[in-house]
């Protein structure tokens, strides 16, 4: 048996367990606990934490006194990488932020650079409609995961399997578009990697026809399901002012009853030309801002995304059809070098407001600073607030309803 340990392992005199403890110590010390309290460690490998999140729970029997999230297990130094690479080369890294919705990440990043370079609004309409189309397809895929795993977390396995079955169609279509299943690098500065493949519009329309009844069916399975409602209604109620104060965005904020959607508010790309509603939580099954409301907002958003896709397809086949002379890379600058300055670009991702804050010096292709404002990061920060005095089983429901993706929390 060969020695599989790292050759440098011998350098340390410390015990490996001790090193792990030092790198991520619990915040709660033994002497802080009352006699009936216990620290329970949930994660980083627990499936219901949706990735590598560690929750340090101070429990009293089944009750959670306090939940303390420990992050960073998936930290891949995005910002450090972005400060050492030319801007177009960072786009593949943005894929890996929220890897459930890579198209949306691409779009948010690219829009910021385009605005800094002053080429936004000059892009061909076909490029813009394709961007919106793929982003909305990706939004559905992301919400399918959110809804499916939320169901799974609280015991509904069928919904999960149905969601993943339908998500697979979306993954295959986006793979057809970009060549990659999840990490697309499809939206480029000033254009797209390539035009849609021939026959894509038809297949997409076919998917919409297939998916609409399937989505209703899935909706029937969960939305009014007695067990599901009992587990989610009046659980994890997030009041609107708390949500705003914690910087929540996306379905979490809208679930608390605030109609705030950056697609509407900022009206970026061609969203002002498209009709869609912004669903919000209304407390139909319990209190406004509970887990059920956040779930329902996602379900309704999938319906709105389908509407947007239909309108995009209509435009892409009639008003802006494919042509011999259409080059999606025509406006792609050979070198993306914005003038010296700074810009905060934001877009509505499936999880919420994704922001990029760029600082450039105008002399190099490499930005001086590229900060990511990840929606899941701020959304997750509200978890300790929501989890005081609840049951451990409800904590799982709350975490599922917030819908985090650790790729973007840890960056």
């Amino acid at each position: 048996m060969p020695d599989v340990r790292h050759p440098n392992y011998e350098r340390t005199e410390l015990d490996y367990t001790e090193l792990l403890r030092r790198s991520s110590p619990n915040r709660t010390q033994l002497q802080d606990l009352n006699s009936e309290e216990m620290v329970l460690n949930m994660g980083p490998q627990h499936p219901s934490t949706h990735g590598v999140l560690r929750l340090e729970l101070v429990t009293d029997g089944e009750l959670v006194i306090e939940a303390i999230p420990h992050l960073g297990y998936l930290h891949r130094c995005f910002e450090k990488h972005a400060e050492s690479l030319p801007l177009p080369q960072t786009i593949p890294y943005t894929d890996r932020l929220d890897y459930m919705a890579s198209m949306n990440n691409n779009l948010a990043f690219v829009m910021g650079i385009e605005k800094m370079m002053g080429i936004e609004g000059k892009l061909p309409k076909r490029v813009e409609y394709i961007r919106v189309l793929v982003c909305e397809l990706n939004r559905i895929a992301s919400h399918l995961i959110a809804v499916g795993t939320f169901g799974l977390d609280i015991g509904a396995v069928t919904a999960f399997l149905w969601c993943f079955r339908d998500r697979e169609h979306l993954m295959k279509m986006l793979e057809w578009v970009s060549g990659s299943r999840m990490l697309y690098n499809y939206i480029w500065i000033g254009g797209l990697f390539y035009d849609l493949p021939i026959g894509f519009e038809e297949r997409c329309a076919e998917f919409v026809r297939y998916f609409k009844p399937k989505w209703r069916e899935l909706n029937d399975l969960l939305t009014t399901n007695r067990i599901f409602v009992d587990r989610t209604a009046n659980v994890g109620v997030l009041p609107r002012d708390v949500a705003i104060n914690y910087g929540c965005s996306g379905p979490v904020l809208r679930g608390s009853g605030l109609k705030l959607d950056l697609r509407r508010l900022d009206g970026y790309s061609v969203y002002p030309e498209i009709e869609f509603d912004v669903p919000i939580g209304r407390g139909e099954m319990g209190t406004t801002g509970d887990c059920w409301d956040r779930y329902k907002v996602r379900v309704d958003e999938v319906g709105e995304s389908l509407r947007i896709i239909e309108q995009c397809l209509e435009k892409l086949t009639k008003a802006y059809p494919r042509g011999e002379d259409f080059d999606p890379q025509a406006l792609c600058p050979p070198k993306a070098r914005p003038k010296a300055g700074e810009f905060y670009s934001r877009a509505e991702n499936p999880k919420g407001e994704l922001g990029f804050y760029f600082i450039t010096d105008g002399r190099r292709d490499i930005p001086v600073r590229c900060k990511v404002r990840a929606p899941s990061f701020s959304n997750l920060s509200v978890l300790p607030e929501l989890s005081r005095g609840i049951l451990i089983a409800d904590l799982v429901a709350i975490l599922g309803s917030i819908d985090i993706v650790l790729g973007e929390v840890d960056r």
Partner: protein
């Protein structure tokens, strides 16, 4: 609901409230105009921005740490605010000297008591750029391991050769 204010109106309100000394620099001629304020006023201005009914900045969208490098010698934080009812936005900057003297990090006041968003974002700035936030409720590293040495987004950061006996660069 009153109309959205532009940056010069916001600056005028701040000057009226805190005097000329509060705003140390500003730039209006760019796409996203900004104000730079003195760290001594940061906490009071933060409270005023949120509580004044004319401003009502209830949403702290983003908080980014910025290191301007050893040549300029400044490090600081850029705040992006939005007011949800008024729909106006504000970019606020606050800079201090970036020097670490005898292991003491540069200090800025914490806004976590006003916007809870600042809590985790300030921890991130502390972790990656090494700014200490005074009166922060729980200032620990957030993304890097607790026993990591140094702050990687500082411009003069040098990678350590080993972490827990594991070589970091190949």
């Amino acid at each position: 609901m009153s109309a959205a204010l532009d940056i010069s109106a916001i600056a005028a309100l701040l000057e009226e409230q805190f005097g000329e000394a509060a705003i140390v620099a500003s730039e209006y001629a760019v796409r996203q105009p900004w104000l730079e304020i003195s760290p001594a006023y940061l906490l009071a201005i933060g409270q005023f921005l949120r509580d004044d009914p004319r401003l009502y900045f209830d949403y702290l969208a983003c908080l980014s740490g910025v290191d301007e490098g050893p040549k300029v010698g400044r490090i600081g934080v850029v705040y992006h605010f939005m007011s949800i009812p008024r729909l106006h936005r504000l970019v606020l900057k606050c800079f201090v000297s970036r020097e670490i003297k005898d292991g003491t990090l540069p200090v800025l006041p914490s806004l976590a008591g006003i916007w809870r968003t600042a809590d985790w974002h300030e921890r991130e700035v502390y972790d990656l750029l090494g700014i200490r936030f005074a009166d922060h409720p729980d200032l620990r590293r957030i993304l890097l391991p607790e026993d990591w040495e140094g702050h990687p987004l500082r411009k003069d950061y040098v990678n350590p050769d080993f972490y827990h006996g594991i070589q970091t660069e190949y």
